[in-house]
C-alpha cells in the first residue's frame, strides 16, 4: 500500500487562528478514542475469554498428549495428526462429510431456486407458503427428528407404507448402511431449503422488473427468461448460498446425532463433527479430538477463503 503525505493544511481565511482549536480537537479525539475503547472492552474481554483462549488451547492441545482424567500433559509433536490419519474411522468420516456435502448442497440449492421463483410469483396465500417453507429452518432438530424417525421406521413408517402400496418392501432406512446416509441427507435438505429459498427470494426481488419487461417485448418465453435473466442475475446470491451451505454442511452434527446415534450402522453416517465429539467425550481423547478439530478448521478455512475470494471479486465488479 502506498502512503502519500499531505502538506499541512493552512488555516482558512478569516478563521480564528491560535492554539486553542487544535488542542480541543486533539482532546476531543483522545476522549472519543477512550470512550470507544471503554465501550469495546467488554466485547474484547468476551472474545478473548470465550474465543481467543479456547482457540489457542485447541491449537496447543492438538500437539500434546493430554490425559483429561489424570490431568497430565506432555508434548506430542505431530503424533495426534499421524494417529488420526491412520484411523480408518476418521478417514471414513471425512469421506462421509464430503459425500453429505456433495449431495446436500446442490440438491437443496436447486430446490431453493425453484421454490423461490414459484413463491416470487403473485399468488394467493403467498406469505403462508413462504412461512411454511421457512418453518423447518427454525424448528428444533430434535423435535423434527422424532417425526422423521417415525416416517423412516421400517415396520410402521410412512415411507415404507407408501412403498408397500406399490408392492415394494421398503428398507430399514436408518439401520441399513446403504440407506442411512441418504435418509440423513433427505432430512437435511428438507431442513436447509427454507433459508436458501429466503436468500434467493431476496435476490429475486432485487432484479429490476424492467429487465423482464424488455424480455417480454422481445417475446422471450418463460423458460428463456428463467435461463437467460433470472439465473444469471442470481449469480451473486448463488455464490453466497453455495459457500455458506458448504461450510454449514461440513459442520453437520445434530441431524446425524439424533437420527443415527452411534454414527449409524457400521459408521455409515459418522461425519467429522460426530467423530470429534465421540473422540472427546466417549473416549476421553481430548488431544486427538483437538487435532481432528484443527483438520476440520483447515477445511472450513479453505472454504471461507474461497468464499471471500469469490464474493470479494463480485463486490469489486459491482
Amino acid at each position: 500500500m502506498t502512503v502519500t503525505s499531505l502538506p499541512a493544511k493552512a488555516p482558512a481565511a478569516g478563521a480564528p487562528a491560535g492554539p486553542t482549536r487544535p488542542r480541543r480537537r486533539r482532546r476531543l479525539g483522545y476522549e472519543r478514542r477512550r470512550a470507544a475503547w471503554l465501550m469495546l472492552t467488554p466485547a474484547l474481554i468476551h472474545l478473548t475469554w470465550w474465543i481467543g483462549i479456547p482457540v489457542l488451547a485447541t491449537f496447543v492441545l492438538a500437539f500434546t498428549h493430554y490425559d483429561v482424567l489424570a490431568g497430565t500433559i506432555t508434548w506430542a509433536g505431530l503424533d495426534n495428526f499421524t494417529e488420526i490419519f491412520a484411523d480408518e474411522t476418521w478417514n471414513t468420516s471425512i469421506l462421509h462429510t464430503v459425500v453429505y456435502t456433495f449431495f446436500t448442497v446442490p440438491v437443496a440449492m436447486a430446490l431453493a431456486v425453484v421454490i423461490a421463483v414459484l413463491l416470487n410469483a403473485k399468488m394467493r396465500a403467498r406469505a403462508w407458503y413462504r412461512a411454511a417453507f421457512f418453518l423447518p429452518h427454525i424448528t428444533a432438530t430434535v423435535a423434527i427428528a422424532l417425526v422423521w424417525m417415525w416416517m423412516f421406521e421400517p415396520n410402521i413408517g410412512l415411507f415404507n407404507a407408501v412403498l408397500a402400496m406399490f408392492g415394494v418392501n421398503g428398507p430399514a432406512w436408518l439401520s441399513d448402511p446403504a440407506f442411512a446416509m441418504a435418509a440423513v441427507i433427505v432430512v437435511s435438505v428438507w431442513k436447509g431449503v427454507g433459508l436458501k429459498m429466503l436468500i434467493y427470494l431476496a435476490a429475486l426481488q432485487s432484479i429490476p422488473p424492467e429487465t423482464y419487461e424488455a424480455a417480454d417485448l422481445d417475446g422471450a418465453s418463460g423458460p428463456r427468461r428463467f435461463w437467460s435473466i433470472t439465473l444469471p442475475l442470481l449469480k451473486p446470491a448463488t455464490f453466497f448460498v453455495f459457500v455458506v451451505s458448504m461450510i454449514d454442511a461440513f459442520q453437520v452434527f445434530d441431524q446425524v446425532y439424533v437420527l443415527t446415534p452411534d454414527g449409524g450402522p457400521a459408521n455409515a453416517t459418522t461425519v467429522m463433527t460426530f467423530e470429534i465429539y465421540r473422540t472427546a467425550f466417549s473416549e476421553f481423547r481430548i488431544s486427538t479430538a483437538c487435532a481432528q478439530s484443527l483438520v476440520l478448521f483447515a477445511f472450513l478455512l479453505v472454504l471461507t477463503v474461497i468464499s471471500r475470494r469469490l464474493t470479494g471479486k463480485d463486490d469489486d465488479a459491482r
Binding site: 470465550w50 474465543i51 483462549i53 479456547p54 482457540v55 489457542l56 488451547a57 485447541t58 496447543v60 492441545l61 493430554y66 490425559d67 483429561v68 482424567l69 489424570a70 490431568g71 497430565t72 424417525m149 417415525w150 421406521e153 421400517p154 415396520n155 410402521i156 418392501n169 428398507p171 430399514a172 439401520s175 441399513d176 448402511p177 436468500i199 431476496a202 435476490a203 451473486p236 446470491a237 455464490f239 453466497f240 455458506v244 461450510i247 459442520q251 446415534p261 452411534d262 450402522p265 457400521a266 465421540r278 472427546a280 467425550f281 466417549s282 473416549e283 476421553f284 481423547r285 481430548i286 483437538c290 478439530s293 476440520l296 478448521f297 471461507t304 464474493t311 463480485d314 463486490d315 459491482r318
Partner: protein, 440 residues
C-alpha cells in the same frame, strides 16, 4: 451482491467463525485443568462428621418417575444427614462420559458419581476416584461377590454396588409350543435350528424373527455369546483375547443368524426402537435381552405374564453365560466433602434406596438381603438373573476399556452386513484395541 444478502453474508461468516472456534471451546476448560490439574489423591476418604453441599451425577433415576424416586430417597438422606445438601445432575448412560469429561476437565468433578461396571478401572487408574476404605471380603457378606469385584481395583474398593443389570435369553413359550418346541435352546446349534423353525415370513417380508439379536446393544449381545463359547475379552495379564477362535465362532453365529439363516433381517429392529420390543409383540420368538424387558411385558402385554408365556434361558454352548453389568456409587478423589459423599454412596447402596432404584428400573438388587424381597419374588426375570449369577460375566477390566468398547458396534455390524468376515472384523478390532492399550 444485493445489500441485504451482503449483510447477511457478513453475519454468516462471523457466525461460522464463531461456531468453528466454539466447537473447540472445550479446550478452555481443558487448558484450565491442564494448568491446575495433576494426579488425584488416592488417600482414604475422611469418615468424619458428614456435612457440606455435594453434587451427585446419576445415569439412573431417569425421567419424571426416576426423579421422583430419587427426591424421595434424598429427603430420607437429609433427615439422616441434616448438614448435607445434595445437588443432583440427572443424565443417562449414553451421556455419562460427556458429563464426566467436562466436570473433570473443568476441575470440579461431581462428589458422587454413579457409574457402570466397566468404568471403575479406567477412573481408578487415573486417580479420579477415592479409595472408599472398605474391605472387599467384608463386603461380600452383604453383597453378591459378582458385584463387589467390579468396584475393586488393585485390591482397593473404589465403588459400592447399587444394582445389577443382566442380559440373557428370553423366549415366548406360546410360540415355541405352536412350533412343537418344549424347551429353550441349550447350545448354539439348537439356537440356530430353533431360530430357523420359528422364523415367519409373509411374501418375503419378515413378520416374526426366530431369534432377535438386534433389540439389545450389539456388543452386549455378542459378549455373552462369546463367553458362552469359552471366549474371553482379555487374558489374565491384560492382553486382547476377543479375536480368539471361540470369539470368532460367536460372531460367526450372529452372522449366520442374519446372513445365512435369515432368522432376522438387519434393521428389523434396534435397541430402544420406537415400535417396542418385537418379542413382546409376538414379532420375535426369542431374543438376547435385558432383564428389564419384564417391565415392558408387564406394561404392554400383561396377558403374557398372567398366562406365564415368557421363559428365560442362559446363553450356552461350551458353558452357560450371562452378561452382567451394574451401577456402582463412587466418590471423587477431589471431593471437598468426602465424608458427606461417602455417606451418600453408602445410603444409595443400602437396602431401601437400592430397592427403590431397582424397582424403578426393573433391575437386579446387589444386596443379598434383598433376594427375599417382595420385589424379587414378583419379578421372574430378576429371579432368573439372581439364580444364574454363578454364570455371569462382566465386560471391562482394563484401564483402556472405555476407549475400546465404542468400537465393538461397528466391527460387529461390519460382520453382520457381510462387509468383513467375523475373523477379519475381530482381528482389526483387536489390533486397534492393542494399540489403544499400549498408548494408555
Amino acid at each position: 451482491m444485493p445489500r441485504k444478502a451482503s449483510l447477511h453474508m457478513a453475519s454468516q461468516t462471523t457466525a461460522v467463525t464463531r461456531r468453528t472456534v466454539l466447537s473447540a471451546a472445550f479446550g478452555l476448560g481443558v487448558a484450565a485443568a491442564a494448568g491446575c490439574g495433576g494426579p488425584a489423591p488416592s488417600s482414604s476418604t475422611d469418615t468424619g462428621e458428614a456435612s457440606g453441599a455435594i453434587r451427585l451425577l446419576t445415569p439412573i433415576f431417569e425421567g419424571a418417575e426416576g426423579q421422583k424416586t430419587l427426591e424421595g430417597l434424598l429427603a430420607t438422606f437429609k433427615q439422616k444427614y441434616p448438614k448435607v445438601t445434595v445437588e443432583v445432575d440427572y443424565t443417562t448412560y449414553a451421556k455419562l462420559n460427556e458429563k464426566l469429561t467436562t466436570s473433570i476437565a473443568g476441575g470440579r468433578p461431581y462428589d458422587v458419581m454413579l457409574m457402570g461396571v466397566g468404568w471403575i478401572p479406567p477412573f481408578a487408574a487415573k486417580g479420579v476416584l477415592a479409595d472408599l476404605g472398605e474391605n472387599a471380603d467384608a463386603l461380600t457378606s452383604r453383597f453378591n461377590k459378582r458385584v463387589v469385584d467390579p468396584g475393586v481395583y488393585q485390591g482397593k474398593v473404589y465403588a459400592l454396588p447399587i444394582m445389577l443389570d443382566t442380559r440373557f435369553g428370553i423366549y415366548r413359550k406360546d410360540i415355541f409350543a405352536e412350533a412343537g418346541l418344549s424347551a429353550a435352546p441349550k447350545n448354539f446349534d439348537e439356537l440356530r435350528d430353533m431360530g430357523r423353525k420359528l422364523t415367519k415370513r409373509e411374501g418375503g417380508k419378515l413378520v416374526r424373527a426366530g431369534v432377535d439379536i438386534l433389540s439389545n446393544d450389539l456388543r452386549q449381545t455378542f459378549l455373552p455369546l462369546m463367553w458362552a463359547n469359552g471366549g474371553e475379552l482379555f487374558t489374565p495379564d491384560g492382553k486382547v483375547a476377543f479375536n480368539s477362535p471361540a470369539s470368532v465362532a460367536a460372531l460367526q453365529l450372529m452372522t449366520d443368524i442374519i446372513v445365512t439363516d435369515k432368522t432376522e433381517d438387519f434393521g428389523y429392529t434396534q435397541p430402544g426402537a420406537a415400535t417396542g420390543i418385537p418379542l413382546v409383540q409376538g414379532r420375535a420368538a426369542m431374543m438376547v435381552g435385558h432383564n428389564n424387558v419384564w417391565l415392558e411385558i408387564e406394561k404392554n402385554a400383561p396377558d403374557l405374564v398372567k398366562d406365564s408365556k415368557i421363559g428365560f434361558f442362559p446363553i450356552a454352548n461350551t458353558r452357560a453365560a450371562m452378561f452382567q453389568g451394574g451401577t456402582l456409587g463412587t466418590v471423587a478423589a477431589k471431593s471437598q466433602h468426602p465424608a458427606a459423599a461417602k455417606a451418600l454412596v453408602q445410603f444409595l447402596a443400602d437396602s431401601d434406596a437400592a430397592l427403590a432404584a431397582c424397582r424403578q428400573r426393573g433391575n437386579v438388587p446387589a444386596l443379598k438381603a434383598l433376594e427375599s424381597s417382595e420385589y424379587v419374588k414378583a419379578n421372574p426375570s430378576v429371579q432368573f438373573a439372581m439364580g444364574n449369577l454363578d454364570s455371569a460375566f462382566s465386560e471391562g477390566g482394563v484401564p483402556a476399556w472405555l476407549e475400546i468398547r465404542g468400537d465393538f458396534k461397528a466391527a460387529i455390524e461390519s460382520a453382520l452386513l457381510g462387509k468383513k468376515s467375523p475373523q477379519q472384523a475381530l482381528d482389526e478390532l483387536a489390533a486397534k484395541a492393542t494399540q489403544v492399550m499400549a498408548r494408555s
